[in-house]
Amino acid sequence: MKRYSLLIISISCIIIYTIFNSSYGNLPLEKVDICSGLSFDLIASSPVIEYNVAASAYAFPKKDEVSSVILEAIGKNIPDTRSARSTISSKEFLLGLQKVFIFSEAVATNGINPIVDMMFSNQQMNDSTWIVVCKGKAIDMLKFKVVDATTSSDHIDGLVESSIEQNFMSTDYKVVDMFVRVGSEGRNLVVPYLEILNNKITLSGMAVFKKDKMVAKIPMEEAMYMNLLRNNKVKGILTLQKDSLQLISTYGDVKRKVHCEKINGKYKFNIDIEFKGQVVNNTMYKDFMINPKTIEKYTHELEEQTEKRCNEFINKMQNEYKTDCLELGRDAAAAFGRNPETNWDNIVCNADIKVNVKVRVNNLGRGQFLFEDK
């Protein structure tokens, strides 16, 4: 029996190997086009809508040297571009390690629904890829040569990831965040808006989407207040400035809470913002270190100014962008029940939104070094 069992095991090993060997061998790194980023462009000049999808892939032309190639493909729809890309590529294409998807403004305003669907059904997709919108042609952004990285996508990856430190930016600009925002009730997608300024890739603002279409580009000075009102637990600097010599800046983090009321069918939102941080620069008050009352006075002044700026933004949002950039509809839906037919953009734009800012200075750093001007 023992002799037979040895025979059975060896035969079954051979059978298992022949059946489950998929003849899908592992390729070496040099034989694969590892995609580092994709750009989506729309060709508007032709009668039918055509997509130009380009991929930047790493290339290894010499030993110990990494460069990149751009694989450009044009098709009537996105799947067609895949076939077109394989006709110019010399290697197997590998999706899954990409860092960023760059949409041109034309693609974003035309609607990203087909692209979202394509990304959603593809199980090889890496859901933590960044989404950005760029000015002009996205392929120019992809081709742009950067000094600090092999491809511009690597550079943008770092740029978006490190943007969290300032401007009250959050990290919710990934593919998975796009899935949960586009098409969900009371939610809208907001992604970074990039352009090439002074020969550098610059995060110049935020692109706001309504459902799957981009509706507005908000410049960074304004977008800072949008981020402040929209994101919870983010960091940034608020500055109180009277003139070029008298200013106080505070770097801190924000906690946001939204309360929603419904009075006679009209919605009322209260956004409570608690800003807590450290004074980084002070050329206004000289008795900051001795007198706590001055600090209190300063916090009230900063509160007032921030509330004013926030209200300015809300005014602009309600009248110009006509979109719920602050995801207030989500809180209202969670409080008063969900109904897919509700148009939260309209409701929020007609609603009464009140902002309460509370500033607390909890740290002065090492001390105060004020230059006495005589």
């Binding site: 059946i19 489950f20 998929s22 899908y24 959603f120 199980q123 859901d127 998975v176 899935f179 949960v180 098409g183 969900s184 009730e185 939610r187 989500r330 809180d331 969670a334 409080a335 008063f336 029940g337 969900r338 897919p340």
Partner: protein, 372 residues
């Protein structure tokens, strides 16, 4: 061999009951429930737990009266040999059907998520062979297998708490906002995924501590309800009710978001765990069906395993598309559930009304002579 060691302990009963119900199909459970009950799907899932609870409680009557028999012998004794065997055959077919569903669904999901290069029939073949092999080994081995996989299931459940950072409670609010009729309708949908609690009525004579059976079964029901409602809750908590219905396997989408240090991508770890859990579920269901057929035909159970192997190998081949599989399941499972409830209820009522002294005396002494 010592006869005592052939019996299973009450903790092993717990593992096998949980293992029989919670399988790979729980990753797709949120779709069915959330499409009706919206953000309150998890409440529906808790209410749906009434079905296994009912089976356990009404089974408790049978277990108390005939602790050494089982449901096949009882139905033969009450309905006569022919009608009893026909009912038993139907009872067997449902386990076989569940086994087929689990095989095809796990193959579909694995091919979608990790091993796209292995064709359907190879996946089905390996699942069917493993199920056959494990069920030949008998109940004791299956219990141990279920014990190991229970801890793997716990690992997935514990790991899913990581998502509580990235999701939001706003997705689940307002509680009871979908309306009570929708929640109740959703609970009927969720009840269909609680099938197979009837396994208890087949294996209870092999449990060592007869008094602890009911208690163990109740605890395992609670654990199953907790697992299921947890899975639905985390899916809604993470994706929101609008995104859950757009996916085929919402809980796997949750698992992909786990950012655990050292582990690069949790997806493949999760898939390995789910495939082991699927093997276990199929094996237990296959064991149950062979056990019933054994009591009908008196052929050796090992032979029956080989006789039924072609069925669980060939039928899943027609369910290569997940949507088709769900349509078939959606049409058949309500009838199975209805049959189960009525079958168990009628037998429980008959045990209350009519005493079969013969059954207690004759069969009661040596049912364990049948190999488990």
């Amino acid at each position: 061999m010592n006869k005592k060691s052939m019996l299973i302990s009450s903790s092993e009963l717990f593992f096998i009951l949980v293992g029989c119900i919670v399988g790979i199909s729980s990753t797709s459970l949120p779709v069915d429930v959330v499409s009706i009950a919206k953000q309150d799907g998890w409440i529906s899932t808790i209410i749906g737990g009434i079905y296994p609870l009912y089976i356990v409680l009404i089974g408790g009557i049978i277990i108390k009266k005939y602790p050494n028999s089982n449901i096949m012998n009882l139905s033969k004794a009450y309905f006569g040999k022919i009608i009893g065997n026909i009912l038993n055959l139907l009872f067997m077919l449902q386990f076989l059907f569940y086994g087929v569903l689990v095989i095809s669904s796990s193959s579909n999901q694995l091919r979608a998520y990790s091993i796209y290069f292995i064709p359907h029939f190879k996946m089905v073949m390996i699942l069917a062979i493993v199920a056959c092999y494990a069920s030949i080994k008998g109940l004791k081995v299956l219990c141990r297998f279920a014990g190991i996989t229970f801890f793997l299931l716990c690992l997935i459940i514990v790991a899913s708490t990581v998502t509580f950072k990235s999701g939001s409670i706003l997705n689940v609010k307002p509680f009871f906002g979908a309306g009570v009729p929708n929640i109740l309708e959703g609970s009927i949908k969720s009840a269909f995924s609680y099938g197979n609690m009837e396994l208890l009525l087949i294996i209870y004579p092999y449990v060592q501590q007869k008094k602890a059976i009911l208690k163990t079964a109740l605890i395992s029901t609670l654990v199953i309800v907790f697992c299921y409602s947890w899975i639905v809750f985390t899916s809604i908590y993470f994706s929101g009710p609008d995104l859950v219905v757009k996916q085929l396997w919402p809980f796997s989408f949750v698992a992909e978001s786990f950012k655990i240090p050292v582990v690069n991508n949790f997806r493949f770890i999760e898939m390995v765990i789910w495939i082991i859990i699927a093997y276990k579920t199929v094996s237990i269901e296959f064991y149950a069906s062979t056990k019933i057929l054994n009591s009908i035909t008196k052929i050796k159970r090992k032979t029956i395993c080989f006789l039924l192997l072609p069925i669980i190998f060939i039928i899943p081949l027609f369910m290569e598309n997940e949507v088709i599989r769900r349509e078939i399941a959606g049409k058949v499972i309500p009838w199975i559930t209805l049959f189960n409830i009525s079958y168990v209820t009628i037998i429980a009522l008959l045990t209350l009304l009519i005493d079969k002294k013969k059954l207690i005396n004759k069969k009661g002494e040596k049912p364990i002579n049948e190999k488990i």
